[in-house]
């Protein structure tokens, strides 16, 4: 009997460690707000001012929109404890900035997170490996880096936090749409012109609903079990086109979009389906077990009633 309790204890502890792994600290106060204030004085506004020592006047200039950052987004993101010069050259502390600084190499995720035990559960090495196989890497080589999709100045680890599925879908799809639905941005990596997303996806019934309910990567990536977000973006010919891949009780969304919620629900002794009920509806995937049983019983009873009636009709004839 004691062994049984011991096993239960181990089981519960194993889940509590998983809980610790899955929850990213998104609440602690940012550490270096003061250090960053000087940078953000200019880089968080569209108009910045400076004293011109040559003319002696205070000038107002328009900031390059690519260098304007939202401080609220930065201080609620995963890199909020950093000071700007942790990643950028300390030479940026002088103004005007040295022109050569624009050649400054940018870190990629793996430069900081690779081989770090603290981030082992994020599998950055696998992400790097999977990205290496993707069309983004094979077609665009080193021109394509992590920051094309992930903004380090506002990034949130949404998939393993308590974000609503709709929020995750919207944020992740925005990453893809920022190039694939924006011809100007798309030209950063290709001269080819793209058809509008709506036209490419017109085979989907109610494509708008699909786009608001699931992420592009659901159909356009190869799912890798150890990862939360698949990074191997497949060539378009290999995209999922079979409806039943998602629209069935064995929906592939369990191992992608609903992964965090699936684990959470299991932990809370719920069923995957009860999670699905709350926020979303996928025809063929949401099956209410009670409704299934109820319908089978009701249908069976009506058939039985008919059979009994037929029996007596024949017998009494």
């Amino acid at each position: 009997m004691k062994i049984r309790y011991f096993l239960i204890l181990i089981f519960l502890l194993s889940f509590s460690s998983l809980w610790a792994q899955l929850n990213v600290d998104m609440k602690s106060e940012p550490a270096k707000m003061e250090d960053n204030k000087r940078c953000f004085d200019c880089h968080s506004t569209h108009i910045y001012t400076f004293d011109n020592p040559v003319s002696g006047i205070t000038e107002r200039k328009e900031m390059n929109p690519n260098f304007v950052f939202n401080t609220d987004a930065f201080y609620s993101g995963v890199h909020r404890h950093f000071s700007c010069t942790d990643c950028h050259s300390p030479d940026y502390e002088t103004f005007p900035h040295n022109a050569e600084l624009r050649f400054e190499p940018m870190y990629s995720c793996i430069d900081c997170h690779g081989g770090d035990e603290a981030f082992a559960s994020y599998h950055f090495e696998t992400i790097e490996e999977e990205f290496g196989k993707s069309v983004h890497a094979s077609k665009h080589n080193e021109n394509f880096n992590c920051w094309m999709c992930h903004n380090p100045h506002s990034y949130k680890a949404m998939t393993r936090s308590d974000f609503k599925i709709s929020e995750i879908v919207s944020a992740h799809n925005q990453m893809c749409a920022s190039c694939h639905d924006n011809p100007l941005h798309f030209q950063r990596i290709s001269d080819s012109t793209k058809k509008p997303l709506e036209e490419i996806h017109k085979f989907l019934p109610n494509f708008k609903l699909h786009f608001s309910a699931v992420r592009c990567i659901e159909c356009h990536t190869a799912v890798e079990d150890t990862m939360w977000v698949a990074h191997n973006i497949l060539p378009k010919e290999m995209a999922v086109k079979k409806c039943v891949e998602c629209h069935s009780s064995s929906t592939m969304l369990i191992s992608s979009l609903y992964k965090y919620q699936t684990i959470e629900t299991r932990k809370n002794r719920g069923t995957f389906n009860s999670m699905l009920l709350n926020e979303t509806y996928v025809i063929g995937a949401n099956r209410n077990i009670y409704l299934n049983i109820f319908s089978i019983i009701l249908f069976g009873l009506s058939l039985l009633g008919v059979a009994v009636h037929v029996f007596f009709r024949i017998k009494k004839k």
């Binding site: 708008k208 629209h247 009920l277 509806y281 025809i283 063929g284 009701l298 009506s302 058939l303």
Partner: protein, 205 residues
């Protein structure tokens, strides 16, 4: 044999035929969608979606024929239900189905020119045609245009709640179909009522 009664006018028979056909398409495609399985597909998912949508739209427009037909031709009279003594009448009809019919008794509410349905039929048809089918049409149209649906109802997906109602009512409609088909065999002969809905003439017992 008594004289045949002309009970089912042409418009009603056309409406009934379209309704029955669309009902079956919706049922089969609906089951295929709800229980879709990659290993065994009753109907390919995207085909089932298209057929279900088309059949649903046809059935919804066809329902207008039923509504206006009832109003304009006076067919609605047959559905009028008097509350007074209703329970007794229902029990009488049930009793006939449970025991009377086996003893060779006559139906307590025989079909006449003025009475097409017995009280149990009236209740079942009223519930089906004036409650369940409208609910199915409203929820079906909402699911066809989900942007009309409130997305979040007390932390539950509005689309899910709509689909749940659509699914629950569909189960009752399936049961209705089973019973409707079976009771249709209880005419003067097992096939007489099926002939009636094709040629319009009712064969009395």
């Amino acid at each position: 044999m008594s004289e045949k009664l002309y009970l089912y006018p042409v418009w009603l028979r056309i409406w009934h035929a379209i309704n029955a056909l669309m009902f079956l398409v919706l049922l089969v495609t609906g089951v295929s969608l709800q229980y879709s399985n990659p290993d065994y597909q009753l109907i390919r998912f995207d085909y089932a979606v298209t057929y279900h949508n088309i059949a649903g739209i046809i059935l919804a427009f066809n329902y207008l024929i039923f509504l206006f037909g009832n109003i304009l031709t006076g067919n609605a009279v047959f559905y009028k239900l008097r509350r007074k003594g209703l329970v007794d009448k229902l029990l009488k009809q049930m009793n006939y189905y449970i025991s009377g019919t086996f003893k060779g008794e006559h139906t307590p509410f025989p079909v006449t020119k003025k009475r097409k349905f017995n009280p149990l039929q009236k209740v079942a048809y009223l519930a089906t045609m004036y409650m369940m089918i409208p609910v199915m049409i409203i929820t079906g149209v909402a699911l066809l245009f989900p942007e009309m649906i409130i997305m979040n109802v007390m932390n539950l997906s509005g689309i899910y709640l709509t689909a749940l109602l659509h699914g629950i009512v569909s189960i009752f409609l399936l049961i209705f179909l089973v019973i409707h088909l079976y009771f249709s065999t209880m005419g003067s002969s097992p096939t007489s009522n099926f002939k009636s809905i094709v040629n319009g003439y009712h064969e009395p017992h």
